[in-house]
Symmetry: C2
Subunit: 339 residues, 2 copies
Amino acid sequence: MATIKDIAKQAGVSVTTVSRALNGYDDVNEDTRKKIKRIAEELSYSPNAVARSLVSKKTRTIGLIISDINRAGAKDAFAYEVLCGINDRAGDLNYDLLLFSTNPSKQMEKSYTALCKERNVEGAILSGLRLNDPYLQEVIDQNSFPCVLIDIPKTGDNVAYITSDSRIGAGMAVRHLLDGGHRQIAMINGHDQAFVSKERLAGFQDALEEAALAPRPDCVYDGSFTEDGGAEAMYQILIRHPEVTAVFCASDLMALGALRTLERMGRKVPEDMSVIGFDDISIAAYCSPKLTTIRQDKYELGYQGAQLLIDMLENRTDNRKIMLNNQLIVRESTRPLAK
Amino acid sequence: MATIKDIAKQAGVSVTTVSRALNGYDDVNEDTRKKIKRIAEELSYSPNAVARSLVSKKTRTIGLIISDINRAGAKDAFAYEVLCGINDRAGDLNYDLLLFSTNPSKQMEKSYTALCKERNVEGAILSGLRLNDPYLQEVIDQNSFPCVLIDIPKTGDNVAYITSDSRIGAGMAVRHLLDGGHRQIAMINGHDQAFVSKERLAGFQDALEEAALAPRPDCVYDGSFTEDGGAEAMYQILIRHPEVTAVFCASDLMALGALRTLERMGRKVPEDMSVIGFDDISIAAYCSPKLTTIRQDKYELGYQGAQLLIDMLENRTDNRKIMLNNQLIVRESTRPLAK
DNA sequence: TCCTATTTCCGAAACGTTTCGGATAAAGTT
DNA sequence: AACTTTATCCGAAACGTTTCGGAAATAGGA
């Protein structure tokens, strides 16, 4: 592994000159620069980023703490799409990504802050964290390095967040059902340690209120963002609220569970029951019936999140908050109530 | 940012002692160790991994070059599942992952070798590369750091690979069709810059030969591993080979494309045409009809790939090759030929 | 010719660790 | 009493860069 010293020796100059030649400073003669470059080439020199970081304090690396990178996430590829967005933008701007091994099974001994500080990442993007995550608060409080939270509305000097407008999105979903004449609408929500659950619930209630309907907290079930949870919640709804004609699910995955239960129970969708989801995962366009849903641009979440972080790193912005719009995608799982 | 020096000063000992105390060497008095640990805690010291790497030459980091991390990959979450497997195993074994920003759009100026050497990763896992990738050969030839290739059968002192047995898998698929009495079988293959395409084609031919059928190279179409490609290939097959009753697709994504074409053309699956895929992506279990396919354990590809790499890093193995088994999953898109 | 700029180079320190080869002092051995 | 052990500590070098503050040599200007 050739170093800058080897080059210096061979070229008969100092390491300073080699460094400056290779880094394009203009106080080095073009002939010596050529020579140095040639020798570097010959020795197949490649700079040692570790040594460089040690002195420059820069790593051009962004830490990623994405707790929902796991097998289960393959169906809704939420984490994946976010990651793609981050990867693309960070790549464009020449940052590498360091994926921390956040091992959820054995609870971690090191906090996110410690991880990031140790590895000298310049900033971090955190996704998939629960609101009650023990290390989350520390990151926000210590405020010690720039970070972007996905779907967690906290800000600070060094912390920003990005999310999509779940409240309005949920409102759109429910209004879509209301527009179809549905009045008895249930909701299957995610677990309550997610900000988006609260927002989607609020959006649900907003829409009911707007339609002068009484809020129905008893018709809101917890599907904990899983397919099985959605299936079970749907089952409870069928049993306890036979009057319900439409259900709003806070995620497509739960909606798939709901569809499963409905099929098992012999209810036709959308004839007997309208179902609307949230996210627009890829399965939504393929399942049967195809799922009406609220599309969330997960890729953009990552893409703009990365952009925001890098802007913060390079002091280009005071913005600490980005809110993306969602979009209603009408497919086959909802339809107006037959009169 | 407190350093080891600050601790040394405050504790009235040398940096050597601090280092040794913190790293659990036994030539330091337990009382001083306690004291040092306490002070480290007070100063919220965290070791600088960059400095440490510089001297130890170890980064405990694995480089990831996964060229198919992109938006399009969200449907078949192949890259994602592989990543999950890598992430889990690497996490268990305490390695972090460095995701290189391989920007496919603007062709890269740095080779994979250069990237890995610069950042001092201890080894790398490469996935999604085409056989004719300009930098791939260099990695293999230079042999300069341990690496594991996914789905590319090349080995060397420092290079190993992992794949699943596509040839046998394809054979299983085609045999399934043959067992159902099908005799006119077409194939939609992936692009020819993938090792698995060659293998799946070979498996297809194996099975035909075994059944004493003539090889039908004219019935093999290129769907380039995309949904649209599969749709187009299916269209060609319908036009040119009306006698075909079953089609084997080298990926589920292409099979989805084929299904789309068949639906558009008014052909019923499986009544008029049997379709079998490869991969078992999550959509396969939800689409209509549900796709019969060959399941590939993508997660395990990553998991065992990571294990293999780390075993190489730590000189625990001479193994340079892992072959995983695939499994036939019969669903709704195939059925015996009506006599 | 003398003075000032300009061009081109370099020595040495610094970044934060680890580790080698001792050094010192106390304890044990004969 | 004169050794040898043992326990505990430390100085200094090393890892491969970058960068600060000059220095030497050459060119330009009067």
